[in-house]
Point group: C2
Chain length 399, copies 2
């Protein structure tokens, strides 16, 4: 029996008891269909967990989230300004905005806040506060919320799954916002995940950390980590399914991993500038950590990225990138495959059919499989190639 | 009194007792003025020290160097093939080639060997062995040696200094080979440093590590570390100057730092594709290590590189890169200057004259100064911007 199934056109309001909205508040220059302020609300206060950027310079909106204790009512997200490097005002603004959300939506539980946009520009706090009463959140609002949090993304990123359970079923919904490779100025990665299962914050924290390590942390667009990256998971228990046994937690972990990896892949493949989605699967590593390190090193290498853009089956560059990973490597055990065709064995080139590999490199998706030949560790990473458009876009962008 | 002076047109054969040559052996396709095999020899056996790439997948030529014990006679360097990922044959080839050098030059001391070129292709060992007798090394050969070790570098990289000493003077000569940003396929960084001072291997090792940490390890072109990077320093004592007191060692360290930083900068600024040389000076760090980490993080950021290519005074990207460094950071203490103009204070933007900064960004050399405001640690890094030509060159290169 399949443990879970994907819901068609699902999003963060697919799980019971969640409503959302997205509006145009005027934070960005107006454009057709452009929303810039989103809200996600749960009918019942939620257990929650979050992970934030490793960058030592963090958005004030993240500083604010770290102050929040106990259950939360929802999240407000603005685009247009990162609320970062603006001094003490950033934290004051976040407190005032979320207080207004509590007032308007008559909640005793606090709201979280995220921001994305230009670093070093104060957020227009008056404009945001006066816009909060214009929200009309409802159960069809998940799609509008996903539109409000994107910046230069070419499409919204939504997913939802339904998980079978001893007490019927429960749902998990997810949304993400992430620049494709041509948009690193707006490079923040944001993701919000809802569930109507009933899980403690303590368990959510453990499950989320494990899931993020195997999904969002394994994407590479341009090697830079934003000041604003945030992933939040909220559990409101509306389905009546309590998740507290090892079996139920493992099942939830599998479903959440599906959701986060689905969104991670959508982020990696977004962006007009890219010509290839690159997936790297590492097996035979000493352990899972080594597999994650190696797959991440390969997908992050500028030389591998440019080789794939140029359709060059340059396995030497892949070997170089493997050797740069912080992992146990035995050069003479390594096997490499590109879209199913083996191109290296025992750390050396093998005679492969050059035209077949060239033809494989004409596909949009390039699957690199690396067998390190040491142990049982497995891991995946997702990335894009490096194209001329990336450079042109990023150099042409003016503050 | 100045401690040392730069010698006009100096190179590795400027110090007494060193001879060198570079020839065309046919390892690369012939071209006007193209040399591909170099040799550097000392009249007297040398104390020596070396640092090699951190990449876990190393060239067999490096595996061979690590076997060498005791004093050395010289170094042979080939371009065209990296002698890497070729199985056990690579080490056998290196032993045979260096044995032939000992035979031809009647030495009881061994030779080192370095290789640079394509990964995964065996070196033409017969061709190299039969070419060794064609070398005619002499004291004018330093320039020919520098031509033989370059690959797609646009110019040779040589320097030499003369250091005042209690017993007259001694000299240090240096040569480097490093791809500009458009040549990462041939991305190996090689450098050889000669001196006629008399220093023990033990002291040379300490001095070299310190010097490399502050020079070659602080250059970033494209973030990838080659399988073949090597820096060797050789001391033959021909000047009769023994360097063993703290005062003399400090003076030698200063002169060697000048040589390695001079060569590091030449590597960073080479390459047709680059439009800016970027220098990053960090002061006010908690310690020297933190300053090196922060300057390296800024010069390595794709977003900082593309902003400078696009002449965009985007201080938010510099803040983002600072925050990604493995160092102690207090956001609200940071000051940033670009070519002498302050653009951030207390971690926030200040009103700067936009046109002045734009005009500063029209210069080839962009000097970023960052004051972390915490302690006395200082450090430098050198790099290039990221241009469309980089991507085009690297994707067009075919194996």
């Amino acid at each position: 029996m399949k443990k879970f199934k994907k819901i068609k056109n699902g999003n963060v309001t697919s799980p019971d008891g969640f409503i959302a909205d997205g509006i145009f508040a005027g934070l960005k220059s107006a454009g057709e269909d452009k929303l810039d302020l989103g809200i996600l609300i749960s009918e019942y206060p939620c257990e929650w967990a979050a992970t934030y950027t490793d960058n030592k310079i963090k958005s004030s909106s993240i500083d604010y989230c770290k102050e929040v204790k106990g259950k939360i009512k929802g999240i407000i997200v603005n685009s247009g300004s990162a609320n970062c490097c603006v001094g003490e005002q950033g934290l004051i603004d976040a407190r005032n905005i979320t207080n207004k959300c509590e007032e308007i939506f008559q909640s005793k539980s606090p709201f979280l806040m995220s921001s994305t946009g230009v670093i070093g520009v104060e957020i227009p706090v008056g404009l945001i506060i006066s816009s909060i009463e214009k929200f009309s959140p409802d159960i069809s609002g998940g799609e509008r919320f996903s539109r409000a949090i994107i910046t230069t993304d070419s499409k919204t990123k939504n997913v939802s799954v339904e998980v079978n359970s001893k007490n019927g079923s429960y749902k998990i919904g997810g949304v993400a916002k992430g620049s494709g490779m041509i948009h690193p100025k707006m490079g923040t990665m944001l993701s919000y995940i809802t569930t109507d299962a009933d899980i403690s914050s303590r368990n959510l924290t453990k499950i989320l950390r494990k899931s993020v390590k195997n999904s969002f942390n394994q994407i590479d667009i341009d090697g830079d980590t934003s000041t604003n990256d945030t992933v939040v998971v909220m559990s409101n228990g509306a389905s009546g399914n309590k998740i507290d046994t090892k079996e139920d937690i493992d099942k939830f972990q599998d479903a959440l991993d599906y959701v986060t990896q689905y969104l991670a892949r959508l982020i990696a493949e977004d962006g007009e500038g890219i010509s290839h989605l690159i997936t790297v699967e590492v097996k035979g590593a000493k352990n899972e950590n080594d597999a994650l390190e190696v797959s991440n090193a390969v997908v992050s290498s500028s030389l591998v990225k440019t080789a794939i853009f140029g359709k060059d089956p340059n396995w030497g560059r892949i070997m170089m990138a493997i050797g740069n990973a912080n992992a146990e490597i035995l050069r003479d055990k390594i096997k490499i495959y590109v879209n199913g065709i083996q191109i290296a064995e025992e750390g050396k080139s093998i005679s492969f059919h050059y035209q077949s590999v060239l033809s494989a490199l004409n596909k949009f998706q390039i699957d690199i499989v690396i067998d390190l030949g040491i142990g049982d560790g497995r891991g995946m990473a997702w990335g894009s190639d490096l194209t001329e458009e990336y450079v042109i876009f990023n150099s042409a962008y003016t503050t």
